[in-house]
Symmetry: D3
Subunit: 67 residues, 6 copies
C-alpha cells in the first residue's frame, strides 16, 4: 500500500507507460511519505464501447466524429 | 465526476447498453444535481469463472444447472 | 451480482437516494437480464478536498467561485 | 453484499480458484456475520505489463530476472 | 500486489478482523502462489443508507423489519 | 475519463495534496494523450485498522513498533 488505479483507454506505448508509472510512483511516495517500493499502480484498460460520458458511449462519439 | 462503475456479466447487445447508460446518466444527473455531461459510466465485464456467489463460481453453477 | 458503484459528492436527501437506487436497479436488471433482487448498489461519498478535476481539487474550485 | 474483489495475476488453475473462493467466502461470512449466499467475490486478472511495484512494471522486473 | 478489497457493513470487533485478514491473506498467498508479505487487504465500511439490494436501501429494509 | 483512484493513509497536508493531484494529472494527460481537464482523481483515505499487509493490520504493526 498505497495503491493507485488508473482507469483509461488502452495505450500500447510501453515506453510511455514506464514513464507514467515512474512519475506517479515518485509523486505518490512524496505525498504519502512512504518508500517508492510500497507504491503499487494498476492500469485498467477500458474499450470505448464500455465507457460513456454524458450518457453516450465513447465508441458512439467516435463514430459521429468520423462521419 | 460523478463516476458509476457497473460490474456484471458480458452483454453484447449494443442497443441495450446505449439505453442503459442513457437511463443511468439521467438518474445520476438528477440525484447528484450535476450536468449529464459530467457523468461517467464504466462497464466492467466479468466472465462466470471469475465470479463466485455463496462460495461457488458462477461457471460451476451454470454447469450444474445444465446437467 | 451485478454490482453498481456510484462515486460522487455527498447527497443528504434520502428520498432522492431511494429514487436513484430504484431507477438504477430497474435499468441494471433490464440491461443484465437479471432479477432486481440480484442488483447491489454501493454509494460512495467523496468530499470536495479529496477529488480533483483538471488537476485542481474541487474544494479549491469552490473557493475560487465564491471569491 | 458483502463484495470481495481480488486483484492479482492471472491464475489458470480452476481447482485452486474453487478452493480460494470457498475459503474466502467462509471467512467473510464469519467476519460479517452474514450468510455465505450473500458473499460475492470478483476475481480481477492483471497482466504484468499493467502493474507496477516501486515504479517498475512487473513485466520489466520479470525480464530483468530472466537476463 | 495482490490486493483484496472487502466491501461490507462496519464491523467493530477487532479480534474478528485480525482473524479475517489472516485467513484471507493465507488463502490469497496460496491461490496466487505469492508470499503473504505481498498480500494487501483493504476493508471498506459501508453504512446501510448507502447500500441497496433489490432497489431498496438496506437502512429501509432494517426499518421495515423492526416495525 | 480517465479516472485515477489513490488508496492510501489519510494525509492532512492540503498543499502536498494540491501538488500531488497536479503532478499526477499532468502525467496522466501525457500518458493517455487527453486534456488535463478530462482527468479525475479520487483520493481514498484508509485508517490503519482497516488495512492489512502480510496478514497483519497496519494498526497492529504500529503498536508493535511503539512497544
Amino acid at each position: 500500500m498505497p495503491i493507485i488505479t488508473a482507469e483509461g483507454p488502452k495505450i500500447d506505448d510501453l515506453e510511455k507507460r514506464k514513464e507514467f508509472v515512474k512519475t506517479v510512483t515518485a509523486a505518490a511516495s512524496k505525498y504519502f511519505n512512504l518508500p517508492e517500493e510500497s507504491i503499487i499502480i494498476l492500469i485498467k484498460e477500458n474499450s470505448p464501447e464500455n465507457v460513456s460520458v454524458g450518457g453516450i458511449l465513447i465508441s458512439e462519439k467516435d463514430t459521429k466524429n468520423n462521419d
